[in-house]
């Protein structure tokens, strides 16, 4: 029979209280305590400490939490703008306007070119996303701003914002999201989106480098990791059709899928 000295037993008692004692060690501990009065008493005392701490900390009397004060702190944080935020959006806007203009030039005036009609309205939120080519910065005080089809939104930090498309789709942008607006679609380049199609009156598609998603009446979130090596979709209600890497499948409410980049869906700004 394996024998344990008391020093090792003390360690095993702590591991047991940590919830980390494995089967063989449990057996050895039990066998040793059957023979050793001192270790049996140590086990009992430490178990009492364990139970007393759990009971005592669970019964702490706390003052009424200051919910209103916390809300006010968040309101103040929303209003705060660091100094760099005054010039960084403009700098990013300048960079983007050059990029987008170069990309858009071949399309202008040609057959099938898209009219620059309003495609959506910023309906809420508080953010520093810069929308091109109109150089609009989406912020709470600009709720109601109309954005043009093919606008590119470049997240610069700040709080999430909510966009409402003319067809009724509502899309929340994570603070780092980079997207391009379509009339019935949105292209996600990086970051995350919350897509609410529960009240959408027409089809709406989310196009990403990892796949394409659609689901009338659904609510889902798409989020890419920092390096774009994968993305995840979480379906909160309804059903979402996922087209990725040559296959199509349907995700139901509560289901999740992690996707790798789809070479056929590489999209660029």
């Amino acid at each position: 029979m394996e024998r344990l000295d008391c020093e090792i037993t003390e360690r095993l008692v702590h591991l047991k209280l940590d919830g980390e004692l494995r089967g063989d060690d449990q057996r050895l501990l039990t066998e040793h305590m059957d023979r050793c009065e001192d270790c049996r008493r140590l086990h009992e005392e430490l178990s009492q400490v364990d139970g007393a701490l759990r009971e005592g900390l669970g019964a702490l009397e706390m003052p009424e939490p200051d919910i209103d004060g916390t809300r006010q702190s968040i309101q103040r944080a929303r209003r705060f703008r660091p100094s760099w935020s005054r010039w960084l959006p403009a700098a990013a806007a300048l960079l983007l306007v050059v990029t987008v203009t170069l990309i858009a030039l071949p399309r202008l005036g040609g057959p099938g070119s898209v009219a620059a009609a309003p495609a959506m309205v910023v309906s809420g939120g508080d953010a520093m996303h810069v929308f091109e080519p109109d150089q609009r910065t989406a912020q709470s005080r600009q709720a109601g701003t109309e954005l043009q089809e093919h606008s590119v939104a470049w997240g610069l930090g700040g709080e999430p914002i909510l966009l409402e498309f003319v067809g009724g789709a509502r899309v929340g942008l994570s603070n780092e999201a980079v997207v391009r607006i379509g009339r019935k679609s949105i292209d996600l380049f990086k970051g995350g989106l919350r897509v609410d199609l529960e009240n959408a009156g027409e089809d709406f598609t989310v196009v990403t480098p990892w796949g394409e998603f659609s689901g009338p009446g659904s609510l889902f979130i798409v989020h890419s990791d920092a390096d774009g090596g994968s993305a995840r979709i979480d379906v909160y209600s309804g059903e979402v059709t996922v087209n990725s890497r040559g296959t199509q499948r349907v995700l139901a409410e509560g289901q999740t899928s992690t996707l790798k980049p789809d070479p056929e869906r590489a999209i660029t700004l």
């Binding site: 430490l46 007393a52 005592g56 939490p65 702190s73 968040i74 929340g172 780092e176 979130i221």
Partner: protein
């Protein structure tokens, strides 16, 4: 708002986690009402954790508010597959650690400022057994090295790995601190038990 009203209802831990994730998803989309509900649901537990870690009520209230401000700012990075409460309390732990480190840098000044301060040093358990009350009193006397891991382990029901992650130390170090802290409390309780004739 109808959706957030529905989410206010929810029963059981699983239901609470699902409701939290929905609320966080709504808040990520810019829904302030949803975030207000998350504050209602979690402020008490965050404040309790902060008070246990900081042993100072005004600091704990500041830390709890700072926790929610930071959570709001980085909601976009919240993994909706994970439970919201532990994520939030992870932020609270970091806020408290920063406050404790700041205290360490300014300890001389704070000691003079605190000379007339009479707030209770730490929250006290009510409706608990005498042994449980003495254990919490003993915990409050330990150094941060041992008090913080024990607080996270027992108050937050955290695993050793979660304690290590929260305190930014190795799992081995977390385990050693838990063991030594538990042993110190045992010794304190034994001494006091001998003093007052109880065990």
């Amino acid at each position: 708002m109808a959706e957030t009203d529905a989410l206010r209802r929810g029963s059981g831990q699983d239901g609470a986690n699902v409701a939290d994730r929905h609320l966080a998803a709504l808040a990520t989309g810019g829904d302030g009402d949803a975030f207000d509900l998350l504050i209602e649901r979690h402020l008490a537990s965050v404040q309790r954790l902060c008070w246990s870690m900081l042993s100072n009520r005004p600091d704990a209230e500041d830390a709890a508010q700072e926790t929610f401000v930071r959570a709001w700012r980085c909601l976009g990075r919240f993994d909706t597959q994970r439970a919201f409460g532990p994520w939030l309390r992870g932020i609270a732990t970091k806020v408290c650690l920063q406050m404790l480190r700041s205290r360490g840098r300014h300890s001389d000044r704070e000691m003079s400022l605190d000379a007339s301060y009479h707030e209770p040093a730490a929250p006290e358990p009510v409706e608990a057994s005498p042994l449980a009350r003495r254990a919490v009193e003993a915990l409050a006397t330990l150094s941060e090295t041992y008090r913080l891991p024990l607080t996270l382990f027992y108050l937050e029901d955290a695993s050793v790995a979660e304690v290590a992650e929260a305190l930014e130390i190795s799992q081995g170090a977390a385990r050693v601190r838990l063991h030594r802290g538990r042993e110190q409390i045992r010794e304190i309780l034994m001494e006091r038990g001998t003093d007052d004739g109880t065990t």
